[in-house]
Amino acid sequence: MSDAILCPQVGQDLTEAKVVALHVKLGDTVKKGMIVAEVESEKATFEVEAFAAGVVIELPYQVGDTATVLEPLVVLGSDADAKPAAKKQAEALTKNGTGAKQHDVVAPARAAVNGQGRSSPLARRTAQNSGLEIDRIAGTGPDGAVVLRDVEALVAKSGKSAVASATGLNVKSLKDGKGTPVVFIHGFGAEIAAWRQIAMAIGLPNTLLAIDLPGHGASPDAAAPGFQCIVDAVESTLRSMGTEFHLVGHSLGAAIAIALSVQNGLTIKSLTLFAPAGLGTIVDGDFVAGFLAAKSEAALSAQMKKLVNDPADLPASMIKATQAAREAGPVAERQTKIAAGLFEGSTQLFSVRAELAKYPGPCRIVLGQRDGIISSSETNKKLSPGIAVHLLENAGHLPFLEEQGLSARLIAESVRSSG
């Protein structure tokens, strides 16, 4: 389980705040009510209080950075999560003590200091390569020195490096837990980050994983054009991690989830589909073309606002991240090729209606009545009576962002309903 302590709203209309102090380090235990950080707007300094207890597993910002308001400032994991592997190993060894005598071993001098700033050379190098600052990490080595396992535990926790997947699709853990994992599949043009906010709001004990589709986020390009190729890539990535999953998909990702739900060898325990593609024929071709062609932040902002009913629901960070990704690599070129295999003008070239009709498990579809990208009324036609449809009056194509609380509840209900 993990929780995020968000950067507070520091004033009306202000979207950013400067981090002026961080009172916690990675690995520190935080108690409820503790002041963990201080942020500053143009007008005032705000103390950030921990509303939950846990162990610090991620610090997205450093002192001096500008943080986006209502984005995580400190991410907490539960104490049990903190260093389970190392703890277990240590326990096993304690039971198994050899009682060896101290031989003429020259033990390296262990200073009586409290370990401040001590770390192994390898831990320092690994932290540096992972973009972590060694002096912000709590150590479990001799006298509190930071050793490799401390850095590795954080790297695994913070999702700094990808979960191993045989096919090379990037998979990240949004939240560590137990039981059947819930896998989030984003829509066309998006990436794992789209799920970060809602993941924090979902009260499930399960592990929450998210996949970057081929040609999106940190995943490699699609091997070939067409819907099936994307489905195959996601399928083999899932197979490399297990056989049983709950799937949550948005738009194209929802269509992929449906296609996977009837694959032999995979057991999909539940489906929660936000604005699913592949159930109708219409897509806003102008949006797809305009979105892919947009280069400036202004053009992207104008296009991406079409995704939501109320433009205020679209996080500025999402636009910025999309633009940053495009500047960093050939994302738009790749996605243009992928789009050509999925859409022709304003027509969707793939359909998963037949697959959805066969799916025997619990399925929820969440539609925004003001969806300008696909047609919610077309999607809602002739669905099997076993499927729950939630029509959200004031939502557009991103109901999980626009109605985050309700969406989080619906995901949790789908997952729980299948046991």
């Binding site: 190392a86 703890k87 190993q89 240590a90 326990e91 096993a92 060894l93 304690t94 198994n96 050899t98 009682g99 060896a100 005598k101 101290q102 031989h103 003429d104 071993v105 020259v106 033990a107 390296p108 192994s120 050379p121 390898l122 831990a123 320092r124 190098r125 479990t140 080595g141 001799p142 006298d143 020195a145 050793v147 490799l148 396992r149």
Partner: protein
């Protein structure tokens, strides 16, 4: 492959090289008629005659002098010294003559002198018969220092020693003569400077030579029961040293334990540790651990003798320290 004893493997090497090269001969105390104190030279007198297999009086200085002189003159002598402790009588010939001759003659001279001897503790033979003195020879440029741990290594390295041109300190271990191991059939030669991975592992590297290889392997078995995979590497020759094998293993495991039977002070382990910290510092997740003999003359009393040199549990404890497990267990309590 055949399973034979260390002493038989040594005999095979000498026998094969004597048959191959008539310049090879062996001298030592009781090695001809008696077949040697450790039965290494049994049968060689009958096969090669008393000119090439020759008993000597108890006079180590003289024996080593004969060997070095014969090597300079073109022979390929093997001088067997009963205990490495007694080689001290011939140190001038080894250190000032054999080790220096090649370079001091502008590279014209050769000293293919092989001194076979044995060291280490075993059976309570007390302070003057139990030392591990490899560090003395290790510190003298010009000498080769060989310390085989298995029958196969003993045979392959001794054959190589008898074909190369530099003075070789071939240091056997009194504990190992009766140990058995698989030795390849046919021609079996091991070049100097090529270490051997005696057991593969990923969590911690244990470097050991001679009899300590077996202690390290016992420790690795114990560690495996605790879920720790130790890699045991045996340099086989300390000079030249297979630095690449060591650095490669350190890069893999990130933690090192060096085990030597010799006393801790001024040992080869310290030198290997200094090489590792200089060349693989950023690979290390823990300080290099050295498990060594105590800085005392080896006691006569068997219990004290055992207490004076590394045992399996000492190696296990050092490996656990290098994995920070005990420190963590304490913190978790």
């Amino acid at each position: 492959m055949r399973e034979i004893m260390y002493r038989d493997a040594l005999r095979e090497a000498i026998d094969e090289e004597m048959a191959r090269n008539s310049q090879v001969f062996i001298i030592g105390e009781g090695i001809a008629e008696r077949g040697g104190s450790y039965k290494v030279t049994e049968g060689l007198l009958a096969k090669y005659g008393s000119k090439r297999v020759r008993d000597t009086p108890i006079a180590e200085a003289g024996m080593i002098g004969v060997g070095v002189g014969a090597a300079i003159a073109g022979g390929r002598p093997i001088v067997e010294i009963l205990y490495v402790d007694f080689a001290m009588l011939g140190m001038d010939m080894i250190v000032n003559q054999a080790a220096k001759f090649r370079l001091m003659t502008g590279g014209n001279g050769r000293v293919p002198f092989v001194m076979r001897t044995q060291g280490g503790t075993g059976g309570g033979v007390a302070a003057q018969h139990s030392q591990s003195l490899e560090a003395l020879f290790y510190a003298i440029p010009g000498l080769r220092v060989v310390m085989p741990s298995t029958p196969a290594d003993a045979k392959g390295l001794l054959k190589y020693a008898l074909r190369q041109d530099d003075p070789v300190m071939f240091l056997e271990h009194k504990h190992l003569y009766m140990t058995k191991g698989l030795v390849p059939d046919g021609e079996h030669i091991i070049e100097f400077g090529k270490g051997d991975i005696k057991r593969e592992g990923k969590d911690v590297t244990i470097i050991a030579w001679s009899n300590m290889v077996h202690r390290a392997l016992e420790a690795a078995t114990e560690l495996a029961k605790q879920g720790i995979e130790a890699e045991v590497i045996d340099p086989r020759t300390l000079v030249p040293l297979d630095k690449q094998m060591i650095l490669k293993s350190v890069a893999k495991t990130k933690r090192v334990v060096i085990v030597q039977e010799a006393c801790r002070r001024g040992g080869v382990a310290s030198d290997i540790a200094s090489i590792i910290q200089a060349e693989a510092f950023y690979e290390l997740d823990a300080p290099v651990e050295i498990v060594a003999g105590l800085d005392i003359p080896v006691p006569f009393n068997l219990v004290l003798e055992k207490a004076s040199v590394p045992q399996k549990d000492d190696v296990v404890a050092a490996a656990r320290r290098s994995l920070h497990l005990d420190a963590y267990a304490q913190a978790a309590e």
